[in-house]
Amino acid sequence: MTLVISTCAEELSEPEFVTPLARIARCHVKHYRSVSPKDIAKADRIIISGTALKDFAYLDSDWSWLKDVKIPVLGICAGWQVLLQAVPTYPVGLVDDVVIGPREVEVIASNPLATGRFSAYFLHTKNGAGVFDVLAVVNTLEGPVPCMFKHPSRELYGCSFHPEVMNEEIIQNFLDLDTEAL
Protein backbone atom coordinates (compact mmCIF):
# COMPACT_ATOMS: atom_id res chain seq x y z
CA MET A 1 0.00 0.00 0.00
CA THR A 2 1.28 3.45 -0.91
CA LEU A 3 1.25 6.12 1.77
CA VAL A 4 1.12 9.78 0.75
CA ILE A 5 2.33 12.14 3.47
CA SER A 6 1.15 15.74 3.36
CA THR A 7 3.68 18.44 4.24
CA CYS A 8 1.08 21.22 4.11
CA ALA A 9 0.74 23.43 7.18
CA GLU A 10 -2.44 24.91 5.72
CA GLU A 11 -5.32 22.56 4.93
CA LEU A 12 -6.26 24.81 2.02
CA SER A 13 -2.97 23.85 0.32
CA GLU A 14 -3.82 20.14 0.29
CA PRO A 15 -6.15 20.14 -2.75
CA GLU A 16 -3.26 21.67 -4.71
CA PHE A 17 -0.31 19.60 -3.52
CA VAL A 18 -1.67 16.40 -1.98
CA THR A 19 -4.99 15.49 -3.60
CA PRO A 20 -3.44 15.10 -7.09
CA LEU A 21 -0.90 12.63 -5.65
CA ALA A 22 -3.60 10.66 -3.84
CA ARG A 23 -5.61 10.51 -7.07
CA ILE A 24 -2.66 9.14 -9.05
CA ALA A 25 -1.57 6.71 -6.32
CA ARG A 26 -5.16 5.81 -5.31
CA CYS A 27 -4.22 5.73 -1.67
CA HIS A 28 -4.84 7.29 1.71
CA VAL A 29 -3.14 10.41 2.97
CA LYS A 30 -1.66 11.14 6.36
CA HIS A 31 -0.45 14.51 7.55
CA TYR A 32 3.17 14.59 8.69
CA ARG A 33 2.12 15.63 12.18
CA SER A 34 -0.09 12.57 12.62
CA VAL A 35 1.76 9.83 10.72
CA SER A 36 2.43 6.88 13.07
CA PRO A 37 4.88 3.95 13.10
CA LYS A 38 1.87 1.76 12.31
CA ASP A 39 1.16 3.81 9.16
CA ILE A 40 4.79 3.42 8.07
CA ALA A 41 4.80 -0.31 8.80
CA LYS A 42 1.72 -0.85 6.64
CA ALA A 43 3.17 1.02 3.64
CA ASP A 44 5.19 -0.58 0.84
CA ARG A 45 6.24 2.84 -0.51
CA ILE A 46 5.89 6.46 0.52
CA ILE A 47 5.39 9.70 -1.37
CA ILE A 48 6.06 12.92 0.55
CA SER A 49 4.21 15.86 -0.96
CA GLY A 50 5.18 19.42 -1.76
CA THR A 51 3.49 22.45 -0.25
CA ALA A 52 2.97 26.18 -0.73
CA LEU A 53 5.99 28.38 -1.47
CA LYS A 54 5.51 30.28 1.77
CA ASP A 55 5.28 27.15 3.89
CA PHE A 56 8.38 25.87 5.72
CA ALA A 57 6.77 24.47 8.89
CA TYR A 58 7.54 20.91 7.71
CA LEU A 59 11.27 21.57 8.19
CA ASP A 60 10.76 22.01 11.94
CA SER A 61 9.19 18.59 12.39
CA ASP A 62 10.82 15.30 13.39
CA TRP A 63 11.44 13.22 10.27
CA SER A 64 14.05 10.99 11.94
CA TRP A 65 11.96 7.89 11.22
CA LEU A 66 13.11 8.25 7.58
CA LYS A 67 16.59 7.15 8.68
CA ASP A 68 15.40 3.57 9.11
CA VAL A 69 12.85 3.26 6.35
CA LYS A 70 13.60 0.31 4.07
CA ILE A 71 10.90 0.92 1.46
CA PRO A 72 11.08 3.26 -1.56
CA VAL A 73 10.40 6.92 -0.84
CA LEU A 74 9.73 9.70 -3.35
CA GLY A 75 10.08 13.23 -2.00
CA ILE A 76 8.51 15.96 -4.09
CA CYS A 77 9.81 19.51 -3.64
CA ALA A 78 9.22 20.07 0.10
CA GLY A 79 9.27 16.28 0.42
CA TRP A 80 12.66 16.26 -1.27
CA GLN A 81 13.93 18.89 1.16
CA VAL A 82 12.73 16.67 4.01
CA LEU A 83 14.70 13.71 2.60
CA LEU A 84 17.81 15.86 2.29
CA GLN A 85 17.59 16.86 5.93
CA ALA A 86 16.57 13.51 7.39
CA VAL A 87 18.89 10.97 5.84
CA PRO A 88 21.77 10.20 8.24
CA THR A 89 25.41 11.10 7.66
CA TYR A 90 24.51 13.48 4.88
CA PRO A 91 23.55 16.69 6.63
CA VAL A 92 23.36 19.36 4.02
CA GLY A 93 21.94 22.81 4.25
CA LEU A 94 19.28 23.94 1.85
CA VAL A 95 20.30 26.80 -0.37
CA ASP A 96 18.10 29.60 -1.66
CA ASP A 97 17.10 28.81 -5.24
CA VAL A 98 13.92 30.39 -6.59
CA VAL A 99 12.46 28.56 -9.58
CA ILE A 100 8.81 29.12 -10.52
CA GLY A 101 7.22 27.77 -13.69
CA PRO A 102 7.96 25.19 -16.39
CA ARG A 103 11.58 24.30 -17.28
CA GLU A 104 13.20 21.80 -19.64
CA VAL A 105 14.72 18.84 -17.80
CA GLU A 106 17.41 16.50 -19.10
CA VAL A 107 17.92 13.08 -17.57
CA ILE A 108 21.66 12.43 -17.23
CA ALA A 109 21.73 9.11 -15.36
CA SER A 110 19.80 5.95 -16.10
CA ASN A 111 17.00 5.43 -13.60
CA PRO A 112 13.62 3.69 -13.37
CA LEU A 113 11.55 6.88 -13.05
CA ALA A 114 12.37 9.06 -16.08
CA THR A 115 14.24 9.13 -19.37
CA GLY A 116 15.21 11.68 -22.03
CA ARG A 117 14.12 15.30 -21.97
CA PHE A 118 10.83 16.72 -20.76
CA SER A 119 9.14 19.85 -19.46
CA ALA A 120 8.47 19.96 -15.74
CA TYR A 121 6.73 22.41 -13.40
CA PHE A 122 8.91 23.96 -10.70
CA LEU A 123 7.73 25.78 -7.61
CA HIS A 124 10.45 26.13 -5.03
CA THR A 125 12.62 28.67 -3.27
CA LYS A 126 15.14 26.21 -1.83
CA ASN A 127 17.08 23.26 -3.21
CA GLY A 128 20.10 21.11 -2.44
CA ALA A 129 21.79 17.88 -3.49
CA GLY A 130 24.13 16.62 -0.75
CA VAL A 131 25.65 13.31 -1.74
CA PHE A 132 22.53 12.07 -3.49
CA ASP A 133 23.21 10.98 -7.05
CA VAL A 134 21.95 13.48 -9.59
CA LEU A 135 19.58 11.85 -12.09
CA ALA A 136 18.43 14.92 -14.03
CA VAL A 137 19.28 18.58 -14.46
CA VAL A 138 17.94 21.85 -15.80
CA ASN A 139 20.52 23.38 -18.11
CA THR A 140 20.91 27.09 -17.40
CA LEU A 141 23.34 29.78 -18.57
CA GLU A 142 25.18 29.29 -15.28
CA GLY A 143 25.43 25.54 -15.85
CA PRO A 144 23.37 22.45 -15.06
CA VAL A 145 21.18 22.64 -11.95
CA PRO A 146 20.29 19.26 -10.38
CA CYS A 147 16.56 18.60 -10.08
CA MET A 148 16.10 14.84 -9.71
CA PHE A 149 17.98 12.66 -7.26
CA LYS A 150 18.53 9.16 -5.86
CA HIS A 151 20.28 8.06 -2.72
CA PRO A 152 23.48 6.14 -3.62
CA SER A 153 22.42 2.95 -1.87
CA ARG A 154 18.77 3.24 -0.91
CA GLU A 155 15.55 3.61 -2.89
CA LEU A 156 15.11 7.22 -1.86
CA TYR A 157 14.20 9.52 -4.75
CA GLY A 158 13.76 13.26 -4.87
CA CYS A 159 12.29 15.68 -7.39
CA SER A 160 12.71 19.41 -6.85
CA PHE A 161 9.90 19.89 -9.41
CA HIS A 162 6.26 18.76 -9.21
CA PRO A 163 5.81 15.66 -11.41
CA GLU A 164 2.08 15.53 -10.67
CA VAL A 165 1.60 18.62 -12.87
CA MET A 166 3.26 17.64 -16.16
CA ASN A 167 4.93 14.26 -15.56
CA GLU A 168 2.48 11.85 -13.97
CA GLU A 169 4.46 8.99 -15.53
CA ILE A 170 7.30 9.64 -13.08
CA ILE A 171 4.94 9.00 -10.19
CA GLN A 172 3.46 6.00 -11.97
CA ASN A 173 6.96 4.57 -12.53
CA PHE A 174 7.67 5.03 -8.83
CA LEU A 175 4.44 3.22 -7.99
CA ASP A 176 5.45 0.42 -10.37
CA LEU A 177 8.86 -0.15 -8.73
CA ASP A 178 9.12 -3.84 -7.91
CA THR A 179 9.58 -3.72 -4.15
CA GLU A 180 10.01 -7.52 -3.97
CA ALA A 181 13.09 -7.31 -6.18
CA LEU A 182 14.69 -4.52 -4.14
Binding site: L12, S13, P15, E16, L53, I100, Y121, E164
Partner: protein
Protein backbone atom coordinates in the same frame (compact mmCIF):
# COMPACT_ATOMS: atom_id res chain seq x y z
CA UNK B 1 -5.62 34.23 7.67
CA UNK B 2 -7.15 37.11 5.67
CA UNK B 3 -7.24 36.28 1.97
CA UNK B 4 -8.06 38.08 -1.27
CA UNK B 5 -9.65 36.16 -4.11
CA UNK B 6 -8.56 36.83 -7.69
CA UNK B 7 -12.09 37.05 -8.96
CA UNK B 8 -13.22 37.03 -12.59
CA UNK B 9 -16.88 36.53 -11.75
CA UNK B 10 -16.83 33.06 -13.31
CA UNK B 11 -17.55 29.61 -11.92
CA UNK B 12 -13.97 28.61 -11.06
CA UNK B 13 -13.02 31.64 -9.00
CA UNK B 14 -16.38 31.37 -7.23
CA UNK B 15 -15.82 27.71 -6.32
CA UNK B 16 -12.26 28.53 -5.21
CA UNK B 17 -13.69 31.29 -2.98
CA UNK B 18 -16.17 28.87 -1.40
CA UNK B 19 -13.41 26.36 -0.68
CA UNK B 20 -11.13 29.02 0.81
CA UNK B 21 -13.97 30.30 3.00
CA UNK B 22 -14.08 26.94 4.79
CA UNK B 23 -10.67 27.66 6.33
CA UNK B 24 -9.99 31.41 6.17
CA UNK B 25 -11.57 34.85 6.15
CA UNK B 26 -12.15 36.32 2.70
CA UNK B 27 -11.26 40.00 3.02
CA UNK B 28 -11.79 41.18 -0.57
CA UNK B 29 -12.20 40.30 -4.21
CA UNK B 30 -9.58 41.41 -6.75
CA UNK B 31 -10.56 41.91 -10.38
CA UNK B 32 -8.51 42.93 -13.39
CA UNK B 33 -10.61 44.60 -16.07
CA UNK B 34 -8.75 43.92 -19.29
CA UNK B 35 -9.18 45.96 -22.45
CA UNK B 36 -7.72 43.08 -24.45
CA UNK B 37 -10.24 40.37 -25.25
CA UNK B 38 -7.35 38.03 -26.11
CA UNK B 39 -5.68 38.41 -22.70
CA UNK B 40 -3.67 35.34 -21.65
CA UNK B 41 -4.30 36.09 -17.99
CA UNK B 42 -7.76 37.52 -17.49
CA UNK B 43 -11.35 36.73 -18.42
CA UNK B 44 -13.11 39.53 -20.27
CA UNK B 45 -16.80 38.73 -20.98
CA UNK B 46 -18.98 40.45 -18.38
CA UNK B 47 -16.11 41.06 -15.97
CA UNK B 48 -17.93 44.27 -14.98
CA UNK B 49 -20.43 41.99 -13.19
CA UNK B 50 -17.91 41.53 -10.38
CA UNK B 51 -19.20 44.80 -8.92
CA UNK B 52 -22.67 43.32 -8.43
CA UNK B 53 -21.22 39.98 -7.34
CA UNK B 54 -19.09 41.67 -4.68
CA UNK B 55 -22.15 43.58 -3.47
CA UNK B 56 -24.17 40.36 -3.39
CA UNK B 57 -21.50 38.73 -1.22
CA UNK B 58 -20.97 41.83 0.93
CA UNK B 59 -17.27 41.90 0.06
CA UNK B 60 -15.11 44.86 -0.94
CA UNK B 61 -13.81 44.80 -4.51
CA UNK B 62 -10.38 45.93 -5.65
CA UNK B 63 -10.84 46.57 -9.36
CA UNK B 64 -7.92 47.60 -11.56
CA UNK B 65 -7.96 48.34 -15.28
CA UNK B 66 -5.30 46.87 -17.56
CA UNK B 67 -4.56 47.15 -21.26
CA UNK B 68 -4.09 43.39 -21.15
CA UNK B 69 -0.79 43.33 -23.03
CA UNK B 70 1.16 40.12 -22.58
CA UNK B 71 3.52 40.27 -19.57
CA UNK B 72 2.81 44.02 -19.05
CA UNK B 73 -0.57 43.05 -17.60
CA UNK B 74 1.35 41.36 -14.78
CA UNK B 75 2.49 44.76 -13.56
CA UNK B 76 -1.16 45.77 -13.23
CA UNK B 77 -1.95 42.49 -11.48
CA UNK B 78 0.84 43.06 -8.98
CA UNK B 79 -0.40 46.60 -8.44
CA UNK B 80 -3.93 45.31 -7.77
CA UNK B 81 -2.71 42.70 -5.29
CA UNK B 82 -0.48 45.25 -3.56
CA UNK B 83 -3.50 47.55 -3.26
CA UNK B 84 -5.50 44.71 -1.66
CA UNK B 85 -2.64 44.14 0.79
CA UNK B 86 -2.56 47.80 1.67
CA UNK B 87 -6.32 48.31 1.98
CA UNK B 88 -7.45 44.98 3.41
CA UNK B 89 -4.33 43.55 5.07
CA UNK B 90 -4.55 40.29 3.18
CA UNK B 91 -1.85 37.67 3.78
CA UNK B 92 -2.58 35.50 0.79
CA UNK B 93 -4.29 35.09 -2.57
CA UNK B 94 -6.80 32.50 -3.77
CA UNK B 95 -7.13 31.67 -7.46
CA UNK B 96 -9.39 29.43 -9.53
CA UNK B 97 -6.49 28.13 -11.63
CA UNK B 98 -7.02 24.55 -12.73
CA UNK B 99 -4.42 23.64 -15.32
CA UNK B 100 -2.71 26.71 -16.77
CA UNK B 101 0.92 26.71 -15.70
CA UNK B 102 1.22 30.03 -17.58
CA UNK B 103 -1.27 31.76 -15.29
CA UNK B 104 -0.42 29.86 -12.12
CA UNK B 105 3.33 30.42 -12.28
CA UNK B 106 2.92 34.15 -12.89
CA UNK B 107 0.57 34.55 -9.94
CA UNK B 108 2.86 32.41 -7.77
CA UNK B 109 5.79 34.66 -8.70
CA UNK B 110 3.89 37.84 -7.79
CA UNK B 111 2.80 36.32 -4.46
CA UNK B 112 6.40 35.32 -3.74
CA UNK B 113 7.63 38.84 -4.52
CA UNK B 114 4.97 40.33 -2.21
CA UNK B 115 5.51 37.76 0.54
CA UNK B 116 1.99 36.34 0.24
CA UNK B 117 0.55 32.85 0.48
CA UNK B 118 -0.93 31.53 -2.76
CA UNK B 119 -3.77 29.01 -2.74
CA UNK B 120 -5.09 27.20 -5.81
CA UNK B 121 -7.72 24.82 -4.42
CA UNK B 122 -8.93 23.65 -7.86
CA UNK B 123 -5.43 22.85 -9.16
CA UNK B 124 -5.31 19.71 -11.37
CA UNK B 125 -8.95 18.86 -10.71
CA UNK B 126 -10.61 16.59 -13.24
CA UNK B 127 -12.75 18.94 -15.32
CA UNK B 128 -15.88 16.78 -15.40
CA UNK B 129 -15.63 16.42 -11.62
CA UNK B 130 -15.14 20.18 -11.41
CA UNK B 131 -18.36 20.89 -13.33
CA UNK B 132 -20.17 18.37 -11.16
CA UNK B 133 -18.92 20.06 -7.99
CA UNK B 134 -19.93 23.49 -9.26
CA UNK B 135 -23.48 22.28 -9.90
CA UNK B 136 -23.67 20.44 -6.56
CA UNK B 137 -22.29 23.47 -4.68
CA UNK B 138 -25.31 25.49 -5.82
CA UNK B 139 -23.33 27.87 -8.03
CA UNK B 140 -25.62 29.27 -10.72
CA UNK B 141 -23.31 30.11 -13.61
CA UNK B 142 -24.29 30.99 -17.15
CA UNK B 143 -22.11 30.53 -20.21
CA UNK B 144 -21.06 34.02 -21.22
CA UNK B 145 -18.57 33.12 -23.95
CA UNK B 146 -17.91 30.21 -26.33
CA UNK B 147 -14.63 29.98 -28.20
CA UNK B 148 -14.34 26.48 -29.67
CA UNK B 149 -16.25 24.00 -31.81
CA UNK B 150 -18.80 22.48 -31.36
CA UNK B 151 -19.94 25.18 -28.92
CA UNK B 152 -22.34 27.50 -30.70
CA UNK B 153 -24.88 30.23 -30.03
CA UNK B 154 -27.26 27.75 -28.39
CA UNK B 155 -24.87 27.53 -25.40
CA UNK B 156 -24.73 31.28 -24.77
CA UNK B 157 -26.62 32.52 -21.71
CA UNK B 158 -27.50 29.01 -20.60
CA UNK B 159 -27.10 27.94 -16.98
CA UNK B 160 -24.58 25.19 -16.29
CA UNK B 161 -26.88 22.66 -14.68
CA UNK B 162 -26.55 18.89 -14.67
CA UNK B 163 -27.85 18.62 -18.25
CA UNK B 164 -25.51 21.33 -19.55
CA UNK B 165 -22.58 19.72 -17.72
CA UNK B 166 -23.48 16.56 -19.61
CA UNK B 167 -23.54 18.45 -22.94
CA UNK B 168 -20.11 19.92 -22.25
CA UNK B 169 -18.74 16.52 -21.24
CA UNK B 170 -20.14 15.07 -24.47
CA UNK B 171 -18.49 17.86 -26.48
CA UNK B 172 -15.24 16.98 -24.74
CA UNK B 173 -15.62 13.39 -25.91
CA UNK B 174 -16.38 14.26 -29.54
CA UNK B 175 -14.19 17.34 -30.05
CA UNK B 176 -11.47 17.05 -27.41
CA UNK B 177 -12.32 20.33 -25.70
CA UNK B 178 -11.82 20.89 -21.99
CA UNK B 179 -15.37 20.46 -20.63
CA UNK B 180 -14.91 23.08 -17.91
CA UNK B 181 -13.30 25.48 -20.38
CA UNK B 182 -9.81 25.47 -18.88
CA UNK B 183 -8.36 25.89 -22.35
CA UNK B 184 -10.46 29.03 -22.89
CA UNK B 185 -13.28 27.15 -24.65
CA UNK B 186 -15.95 28.77 -22.47
CA UNK B 187 -16.22 31.67 -20.07
CA UNK B 188 -18.92 31.90 -17.43
CA UNK B 189 -20.65 34.47 -15.25
CA UNK B 190 -22.05 33.57 -11.82
CA UNK B 191 -25.53 34.87 -11.01
CA UNK B 192 -25.93 33.22 -7.63
CA UNK B 193 -23.90 31.10 -5.22
CA UNK B 194 -23.81 30.20 -1.54
CA UNK B 195 -22.91 33.39 0.30
CA UNK B 196 -24.80 35.63 -2.14
CA UNK B 197 -27.37 37.57 -0.11
CA UNK B 198 -29.20 38.40 -3.34
CA UNK B 199 -29.24 36.94 -6.85
CA UNK B 200 -28.23 38.78 -10.01
CA UNK B 201 -31.14 39.26 -12.38
CA UNK B 202 -30.18 39.99 -15.99
CA UNK B 203 -32.42 42.75 -17.33
CA UNK B 204 -30.90 43.46 -20.74
CA UNK B 205 -28.58 41.24 -22.73
CA UNK B 206 -27.79 40.06 -26.23
CA UNK B 207 -25.75 37.29 -27.76
CA UNK B 208 -23.27 37.77 -30.58
CA UNK B 209 -21.84 34.84 -32.54
CA UNK B 210 -19.60 35.03 -35.58
CA UNK B 211 -19.56 31.37 -36.56
CA UNK B 212 -16.62 30.27 -34.44
CA UNK B 213 -16.98 32.18 -31.21
CA UNK B 214 -19.55 34.20 -29.35
CA UNK B 215 -20.28 36.25 -26.27
CA UNK B 216 -23.39 36.73 -24.16
CA UNK B 217 -23.24 40.41 -23.29
CA UNK B 218 -24.96 41.51 -20.07
CA UNK B 219 -25.89 45.19 -20.43
CA UNK B 220 -28.15 45.67 -17.48
CA UNK B 221 -28.55 43.65 -14.33
CA UNK B 222 -29.70 44.12 -10.77
CA UNK B 223 -29.64 42.36 -7.42
CA UNK B 224 -32.90 40.92 -6.20
Amino acid sequence: MKLGVLYSGGKDSTLALLKAKEFHKIACLITLVSANKESYMFQTPNVHMTELQAEAMGLPLVSVATEGEKELELIDLKRAIAEAVSKHRIEGIVTGAVRSTYQASRIQRICHELGLWCFNPLWLMDQVALLDEIVKAGIVAIISGVFAEPLDKSFLGKVIDKAMAGRLAAAAETHGINPAGEGGEIETTVLHAPGFKKSIIVKKSYASFDGSSGVYHIHEAELK
